[in-house]
């Protein structure tokens, strides 16, 4: 069930009406959110046509026959998904209680280690088992050992990277005594499964989200308008910009005949696609949560206006980069603090390489992370020199040139990441280095997406001090509603509305 699908619109309407009709009982509201979230999670694993059939063309006799036939592989997969989410959050809840009760430091440490091993073990099995074994077998075969390996058929559970980091963050916080263990089981498992943030973040912190589940909520028209307008902005980014560009990018990267110039154009266009896709998803998630009276963590803060890679990572996927900073970078750099700046460089490289691995079980993702770690390390070492340059060069020139350089580096790293395998990257790179680099690329194939991307960045530049592009709540009534109406018309005029594409971050 995609955020951009009609079935999600129906689902949200039912949940919304039921939820606010139970305003007097916080617990009943949480129960609605819990069952709604589990339904959403299971439905997210079903194909769109199955959900549509379930909603609009349900036949009792047919359903009964299917039940009588027994579970098929897809049913087992959905059951497995549900159990995994439920068991993962229940285990984190129990470990939180145990950590809270235990006073002996050594026992607390072992409980934390056990929790990390279980959560990361599950993640590693589903996401990395084939990757690690295949890499080992490849390395062994290179040494002449002749090992045969057929990859296991393991389906990657939806959102596993997101909810694993969510519950691990909670466990670390309770262990470090920066957050009290949750006492209400239903509140806890509901806050983990809360559907707006479940599938692709933001990766929430218990300290931020859980108190919102334990406190009563109040309905406000302002919040409703703000939530709907942020969702609208997200739909615009995803449907009008990301999906328009996505077709061209997919075609160029898949074809063996793409010219070097088209690969360069597709890579630059992909930076716009991935931003609009993922930040669009986050806008819909934040807006959707606000409709229900919740504030999720801000996940994007106009990252393409950053003037250094360090600043970029404070603006891009903020919930993941702050997670990495708190639970990976800080412990590593603290352990190596006697190394001075080199300790920070070391911590940045290790943290970002692991962050790359989080993004995908493939070597291109690891290299992507390593590239970012190295450049972040370079920025640590050259901080003072760059500060001097910024004082000599006029501010506007320095900022614009720096932002372009950051964007070009980001695009280069995305070329590695998007290629998906070393072999594919080599093939793409050889075409970039060929004469075909000097042929005219197919601008016409991507002109609509780029034009709307330009409009989007112009609006975001004007709105850069606000929370999101369509944050117009303090503006004149007429301007505000004209803007909303225009965006709605543009979305409904888009050809992509009927061809829904998955969000790119679903694969993580």
């Amino acid at each position: 069930m995609l955020f951009t699908s009609f079935s999600f619109f129906l689902f949200l309407t039912v949940i919304y009406l039921l939820y606010w009709s139970l305003l007097k009982s916080r617990k009943a509201q949480n129960i609605v959110l819990l069952f709604g979230s589990y339904f959403f999670y299971c439905a997210a694993a079903m194909p769109q046509n199955k959900i549509a059939k379930l909603l609009f063309n349900f036949r009792f006799e047919e359903a009964w026959l299917n039940v009588a036939k027994g579970f098929n592989e897809r049913h087992y997969h959905i059951l497995q998904l549900f159990l995994l989410l439920w068991l993962s959050s229940s285990f984190a809840y129990l470990m939180g209680i145990a950590l809270g009760k235990q006073k002996k430091e050594i026992t607390r440490k072992w409980l934390m280690v056990l929790s990390a091993v279980v959560h990361l073990g599950v993640l590693c099995y589903f996401k990395y088992f084939n990757f690690f074994v295949q890499s080992f077998v490849d390395a062994a075969n290179t040494l002449g050992w002749q090992i045969l390996f057929s990859p296991e058929h393991i389906l990657l559970p939806l959102a596993i990277s997101f909810f694993t980091f969510h519950v691990l963050g909670y466990t670390f916080d309770v262990y470090q005594e920066t957050y009290e263990p949750a006492d209400d089981y239903v509140d806890f498992i509901t806050h983990v499964a809360f559907f707006p943030q479940l599938v692709a973040g933001p990766i929430e912190r218990a300290g931020h989200l859980l108190p919102q589940f334990t406190n009563p909520r109040s309905f406000s028209w302002n919040k409703m308008e703000s939530g709907l307008s942020q969702m609208l902005w997200g739909f615009f980014k995803k449907t009008v910009v990301a999906d328009s560009i996505g077709k061209f990018v997919t075609y160029v990267y898949a074809s063996d005949a793409s010219s070097g110039s088209n690969i360069i154009l597709a890579t630059l266009a992909f930076t716009i696609q991935i931003y609009c896709d993922f930040s669009g998803y986050s806008d819909i998630a934040l807006g959707c949560a606000r409709l229900l009276g919740f504030d999720l963590l801000k996940n994007f803060n106009f990252p393409y206006f950053a003037t250094s890679l360090t600043e970029f990572w404070r603006r891009w996927h903020i919930s993941l980069s702050s997670w990495i900073t708190d639970y990976l970078y800080m412990p590593i750099s603290f352990g190596k603090r006697s190394w001075g700046k080199w300790g920070i460089v070391y911590a940045a490289i290790i943290s970002f390489t692991l962050s790359g691995l989080w993004h995908g079980a493939q070597w291109t993702a690891v290299i992507w992370g390593l590239m970012h770690g190295i450049v972040l390390g370079y920025e640590v070492l050259t901080k003072e020199v760059r500060k001097k340059w910024s004082q000599i060069i006029p501010h506007v020139v320095y900022s614009v040139v720096s932002a372009i350089l950051v964007w070009l580096f980001w695009a280069a790293s995305q070329l590695v990441f998007r290629s998906g395998s070393i072999t594919k990257f080599q093939a793409l790179w050889s075409r970039i280095c060929s004469e075909s680099l000097f042929t005219m690329p197919y601008f016409s194939a991507v002109k609509d997406g780029l034009m709307w991307g330009g409009v989007l960045f112009l609006i975001e530049w004007i709105q850069r001090k606000k929370d999101y592009g369509l944050d117009l709540q303090n503006t004149n009534y007429m301007i505000r509603w004209t803007a909303y109406a225009t965006i709605i018309v543009v979305i409904f005029s888009s050809d992509n509305l009927n061809n829904q594409n998955e969000f790119l971050y679903f694969q993580f």
């Binding site: 005594e177 920066t178 900073t325 800080m330 603290f334 006697s338 001075g340 003072e384």
Partner: protein
């Protein structure tokens, strides 16, 4: 050593590490109030404070520092009476 003396020393350490001649710290000062005090320089500041006082912090202690006051209180706790 008094809390005021610790605050004076810590201010001098921050000035050296952050390369700032003008810096006024109070117990309520947080990282958000000081330009250049970020996750990158934070560990360098901690290391400089440790070297100055010949003390060692634990990660659990450092994570709980919300402001300069917390840092100074932890230093005072670790110094011999």
């Amino acid at each position: 050593m008094t809390p005021e003396e610790v605050l004076t020393h810590v201010t001098e350490i921050f000035k050296t590490v952050l390369k700032k001649e003008q810096l006024h710290l109070t117990p309520a000062t947080t990282a958000a109030d000081v330009d250049g005090w970020d996750s990158l320089t934070h560990v360098m500041l901690i290391d400089a404070v440790e070297n100055h006082y010949k003390i060692k912090f634990k990660l659990n202690e450092v994570i709980k520092f919300n402001n300069i006051g917390d840092l100074c209180a932890c230093i005072l706790k670790k110094l011999p009476a």
